[in-house]
């Protein structure tokens, strides 16, 4: 049976058909839906782990115990997970072990556009790169087989347009995969120096064997059209090249991007007058070709930045220009993402902006607190950095600066890697104020449960981490819970906590407005008491705008959360049911 599937859903399907037993991940765009789709198969144990390192280690443990296991993450998640990755390359596996990493060229929803292929070479782990949903499924299945055959973890590398495109997939029955026996093997699984020295030899031998495999595998395909131009490509860039160039060139499509073949590439390249390498982001394939002495054209004509398009490739290789199109003769406003109407974070940032505080920010919907008109957030680096970087800022600039400084971090991000920073503040005698934005869910990635929500990935009840007690337990004596929509009280609490000479935590509690259980009703309207002072406009709510010089509330955008009522100094905003 054929079905239209998202690339991510196809990876999940492939893992299911390969008999995967355990899947552990942390959500991150564009990888999230893989694990969400896994949940649809009752026979697989799936979990949202607190962070990618934990998730990877859960999968590693499951593999050592004899099950086929997988962990999925976005590119920056692989940085968090990198520590075990480099060592599990040495130990190898028992049950097949797959790490699925999704890059985000063009940064649709990321803080950088790193190229994860470098990790494959750095950790000496083979990497497959599918180009559409059908390959997502097939390559994932193959990855488990190859993992066991070559005793290695296997990376699957996706990118946004592969993860988030739907295309046709042929569904098959799942294989009947039994747990492999667990046998104690200290020499293989205990990576202390004497054992690791021996395992490194195994790793280097394995890379040689995998390079041999790369010469003959069907994963690396040649398509001959009798052209004088040869194109080497992989993943989504291959699809763009096919669309742009059709039968006008010959192709070497690499389905296995690490390790790459040598002889196959040399034999291919020598047949052509010109060889192009088409790959998004870094010149990984190009550098391999150049190391083989091949005079190829890559980043000389293609950008290192962002996503490619077929038109770009057509122009660079065939010199054909894009089709004629209508141009817009005026500058038109951009539409950046904004916090939703009813977003609980809006109350927090309104207060922080009003108090003129330096805000050490983090990764989540609340990164949008940096966007006009709130423009409250000062820094965003990575998950957890809001807390530890603020500690560094305070140590660098001293007590007075610290009274103007807060960290903001979401509930899920705090669980991911905020808690260690908070422990650092306590241990090293900091006195920062950390605001945990507890909206009862992992928001940006589309509502995943986490250790603070009391539900598992399957929606089952579980123990809930008590943020208040947790902060107290690590040594924070001042923990205050406050509602960010009660702006007067919230402002009072923030002022009080930043002025303390001890560390403190404010838990700003209000659920995400998009959560099922959250029912705001009606919508707000502006009455004739309005003095047009535009205080409400400072909230940056998408429902509040100006028409003919007067503030109005767009009923189709407003969800009736009522935050604007709380900030209007003239009582001019009313609720209409």
């Amino acid at each position: 049976m054929k079905k239209l599937l998202l690339g991510n859903a196809a990876v999940a399907r492939g893992a299911y058909e390969a008999g995967v037993g355990v899947v552990a991940s942390y959500p991150g765009t564009p990888s999230t839906e893989i694990t969400e789709e896994i949940v649809k198969f009752d026979e697989i144990f799936a979990e949202w782990s607190p962070n990618e390192k934990v998730a990877g280690e859960v999968a590693i443990g499951a593999s050592i115990a004899g099950a086929r296991a997988m962990s999925c993450m976005k590119h920056v998640g692989l940085n968090v997970m990198a520590d075990p990755v480099f060592t599990v390359s040495y130990t190898g596996v028992n049950g097949g072990l797959v790490f699925c990493v999704a890059d985000d060229p063009g940064m649709h929803s990321s803080q950088n556009e790193q190229d994860s292929r470098h990790y494959a070479a750095a950790s000496k782990i083979m990497m497959l790169e599918p180009a559409d949903s059908s390959e997502c499924k097939e390559f994932t299945k193959m990855a488990f087989t190859l993992s066991e055959k070559f005793d290695t973890p296997v990376f699957i590398r996706l990118s946004t347009r592969v993860s988030h495109s739907q295309s046709m997939v042929e569904l098959c029955e799942p294989e009947d995969v039994k747990l492999k026996p667990y046998e104690k093997n200290i020499g293989k699984f205990v990576m202390m120096p004497a054992n690791a020295v021996r395992r490194h030899v195994v790793v280097e031998d394995r890379i040689k064997a995998l390079t041999e495999f790369a010469e003959t595998t069907e994963l690396n395909k040649i398509e001959e059209n009798g052209s004088k131009i040869g194109v080497v490509s992989a993943g989504i860039a291959y699809m763009y090249a096919k669309e742009a160039l059709g039968d006008a060139v010959d192709y070497l499509k690499l389905g296995m991007v690490y390790p790459m073949p040598v002889k196959k590439i040399l034999d291919f390249a020598k047949k052509y007058d010109k060889v192009y390498v088409v790959e998004e982001l870094d010149p990984v394939i190009e550098n391999h070709l150049k190391s083989l002495g091949i005079n190829c054209i890559g980043k000389d004509v293609f950008t290192l930045l962002g996503e490619y398009t077929p038109a770009m490739i057509k122009s660079a290789i065939l010199g054909e220009s894009a089709p004629e199109c209508a141009e817009i003769s005026e500058a038109i406003p951009v539409r950046p993402p904004v916090m939703c109407a009813g977003c609980p974070h809006r109350g927090t940032f309104y207060v922080l902006k009003k108090l003129g505080l330096v805000v050490s920010g983090d990764i989540g919907c609340y990164t949008l607190g940096a966007v006009a008109p709130l423009q409250s957030v000062d820094t965003t680096i990575c998950m957890g950095a809001s807390v530890s970087a603020a500690h560094g800022m305070a140590k660098a600039r001293g007590a007075e600066f610290n009274k103007k400084l807060v960290s903001v971090i979401g509930d899920s991000t705090f669980m991911h890697s905020g808690i260690t920073g908070l422990i650092d503040i306590v241990y090293n005698k900091g006195n920062n104020t950390v605001i945990i934005l507890d909206n009862s869910i992992t928001g940006m990635t589309g509502h995943q449960d986490n250790p603070t929500t009391g539900k598992t990935i399957r929606g089952e009840d579980t123990k809930q981490v008590d943020l208040l007690k947790l902060c107290q337990a690590v040594g924070i004596d001042h923990v205050v819970v406050a509602d960010p929509f009660d702006v007067k009280n919230f402002e009072k609490v923030v002022k009080q906590e930043v002025n303390r000479n001890e560390p403190s935590v404010i838990i700003a509690t209000r659920p995400c407005a998009l959560l099922k259980g959250v029912k705001y009703t009606g919508h707000c309207t502006i009455s004739d008491k309005c003095k047009n002072c535009k205080m409400c406009m400072r909230l940056g709510c998408p429902a509040i705008t100006v028409k003919d010089g007067h503030v109005i509330i767009d009923a189709t955008q407003c969800n009736g959360c009522g935050l604007c009522i709380n900030v209007c100094p003239f009582g001019a905003i009313e609720k209409e049911e």
């Binding site: 495109s165 669309e243 038109a311 141009e327 539409r335």
Partner: protein, 189 residues
């Protein structure tokens, strides 16, 4: 058949994803190869969203370049305007007449362009629909997406019943009546 390129553009939260899924699943049932490219994550939060649906004998790239869209289905006026350069010569724009101010307009840093529909009409075949009113008539203003799919369906060669079949299999039971009504209001405009 040559690949048909349809672009669905709008503002994050307007339901462009459901629209693209109804479209994708309908063309599959017609036996075409299809690719649908979606937007997830940060851009979904009230930003510009663009979804591509491509179908034909064999589709490679999931994205559509400038000058290549046969149809642009726009959920908002400014987004229709922004997408105009992607329209193929002789292509068609179907646009919901709704205006949603982006944050730079709200803050006064930019101005919402005047007379967008008229400006597009100078360069392309445009049909403006009051999808919000039709959705309200159907029973829920959130059904704007399905009203627009209805309008678009009329300009394809796929039969009415085929669309109804997909809607029945794509939309949750409790919203089915509203969506069927919304589709029919759009289709029969």
């Amino acid at each position: 058949m040559a690949t048909k390129n349809i672009m669905i553009v709008g503002v994050g939260g307007q339901g462009t994803l459901l629209a693209s899924r109804i479209l994708g699943n309908t063309v599959i049932n017609e036996g075409y190869d299809v690719k649908v490219s979606e937007v997830h994550g940060m851009s979904q939060r009230g930003g510009s969203v663009v979804t591509y649906v491509k179908y034909g004998n064999e589709v490679f790239s999931p994205i559509i370049d400038r000058g290549e869209a046969d149809i642009i289905l726009a959920f908002e006026l400014l987004e229709a305007y922004r997408a105009l350069p992607y329209l193929k010569k002789g292509g068609k724009i179907i646009v919901n007449g709704q205006r949603i101010d982006p944050m730079p307009v709200i803050t006064g840093a930019a101005e919402y362009p005047e007379n967008i529909a008229e400006k597009i009409a100078e360069k392309a075949d445009i049909k403006v629909i009051d999808a919000l009113s039709l959705a309200r008539d159907a029973g829920n203003i959130k059904a704007v997406n399905v009203v627009l799919i209805g309008v678009m369906a009329k300009s394809t060669d796929i039969a009415y019943d085929k669309w109804i079949e997909t809607i029945k299999s794509t939309v949750p039971e409790k919203f089915l009546d509203v969506n069927l009504k919304a589709f029919s209001l759009g289709y029969n405009i």
